[in-house]
Symmetry: C2
């Protein structure tokens, strides 16, 4: 499963974010005590393309099986802080009928409450960085520690931060090369109803590139050299959307790091791989399907995406 | 403007539906006494590919300028009944903030109330037929008059008919080759939340092919030989969505008639032309932009769609 035979061009990518134990209920079933957290999904997706360096925090209760899962994917966990006496971030969520929205039933921040992402010395040179949707102040803190001033930075966010820490978030945007954002967040930030207008406006707010995620409707890429649109992979076995956006972002940064390029052509391919990875994630609870599918399945879906979009 | 130099393969296409005088208000402005009706939009879009034969009804008040508009596009209006003493179907609608839904402010059915689509003898051999979203009973009536038993039939519909005349509609489905339907209607008909599942289920209800329209998110094609997805054209000057779906369907049937093919490859191209035509329609009130753009603009947008979807 660990794709150790990475391309010669491959650079490591740094992934910072939450690592969690989840309980997820959907209209069709539920699953408890499963591996969750944005960084978990992202790192596993990225691991299909290059070595992922994981920065996060877990408690002494974090199951050995989850540590092993990271190891199997060749993920560097030197940056995963383990607070022996604490408990791992716990999230319990419920998806509504037809997956129209979700409610958080319970959050226990635990060790995540005082999480301060500290980069091990070796991580500071990481040329590709993904900032998961943690508080903007912490995202700034990560960037402040980077020695590689030319690192390519992808940032994800979360409507809560746009609403509660807008100043920090606005200051983050110019430090970001690629903002990955969903429909509602893009409208919240720009006030634009049209996604096309929102995308262009977001680029003016700082990030050179913007990817707008639309769930089952695919995603849009706004790059200095052009616009690109891709549908979602036509999933028929939809189980749990948790982590879809995180695997999307992880595969995206992982692919860019693997080819060590960020031009328009590379970004389009990265977005297609991201789409493929996210489609696996929704086909099971937790990272199960994404992890078991392997690079081979991601590649097959990438080719299928080529096929279903050509005319 | 009339593209008289149609391909040698081109067959005429029959378009049946409403012809109306509209008043449209959007969050950004309004326009009164403008050409509307599904068949108007569809026939003009189709006219870029082949000769459109229009079946509908208007009153004595139908402006000469509108008649001229059809003529300029080379549309055969032998089937357009003119009831000298009646008034044309009038529709007044209001789009809500951010175009999230619309309300009908006023409907005067007028001559449309007793509309019975009668095909002129020459029309009965039409090998390509588009049934606009009129009552299913009238759609049946059109099909009953066709002499060409192998005509390729595209049908559009409307949530009202699914709700009020479900039996007639269900009986129509097996008589249809291609059902063109929007997201909400597809969910209403199938009960499926997933559009992919809805598309497959619709095909089992009768039509060999289904096109699922998703507005700004593009459209999906379910064909016996495969699945195809296309984003919307990235419109920035969004004025009025009225008629977008009708121009989409008109361009689709028009293109198929022009190449006289309905295989998967032809359908994919038809869907791309349909997307291009619909994008013009939303850039103005009424058919103005669609009509002025000409085949050249439709072609340019088709090529742009190729460009923004390739990776």
């Amino acid at each position: 499963m660990p794709a150790q035979n990475y391309l010669k061009t491959a650079r490591p990518c740094l992934i910072v974010g939450s690592v969690a134990i989840d309980r997820v209920a959907t209209p069709h079933g539920q699953s408890d005590n499963i591996l969750g957290g944005a960084a978990s999904y992202a790192a596993i997706a990225a691991s299909y393309f290059t070595q992922a360096r994981l920065v996060g925090v877990v408690g002494g209760d974090f199951p050995t099986a989850f540590h092993r899962r990271f190891k199997k994917h060749g993920i560097d966990t030197e940056g995963l802080q383990i607070e022996k006496d604490g408990k791992t971030f716990y999230w319990s969520g419920q998806y509504h009928e037809n997956f129209a929205g979700r409610s958080t039933l319970e959050i226990q921040l635990n060790v995540f409450e005082k999480f301060s992402p500290t980069l091990p010395t070796t991580y500071r040179q990481s040329p590709y960085v993904m900032l998961g949707a943690i508080q903007p102040a912490l995202q700034h803190h990560v960037l402040d520690q980077l020695a590689a001033k030319k690192a390519f930075v992808l940032a994800d966010t979360f409507d809560l931060w746009i609403k509660t820490t807008r100043d920090d978030f606005d200051r983050l945007l110019p430090r970001v090369d690629l903002l990955v954002i969903n429909e509602d967040e893009s409208r919240l930030l720009t006030g634009e109803a049209s996604l096309i207008s929102a995308g262009h406006k977001l680029r003016k707010m700082g990030p050179r590139m913007v990817v707008l995620k639309k769930g089952e409707h695919g995603s849009l890429l706004f790059h200095p050299d052009g616009f690109f649109a891709i549908p979602a992979y036509p999933v028929t076995k939809f189980i749990d959307p948790t982590g879809a956006g995180d695997s999307y972002a992880g595969a995206l940064i992982g692919y860019l790091a693997s080819v060590n390029r960020t031009d328009f052509a590379a970004l389009k391919k990265a977005v297609a791989y991201a789409t493929a990875a996210a489609s696996l994630t929704v086909e099971s609870f937790s990272v199960d399907r994404l992890s078991k599918g392997g690079r081979k399945t991601v590649d097959a879906r990438y080719r299928e995406l080529e096929k279903i979009t050509r005319f």
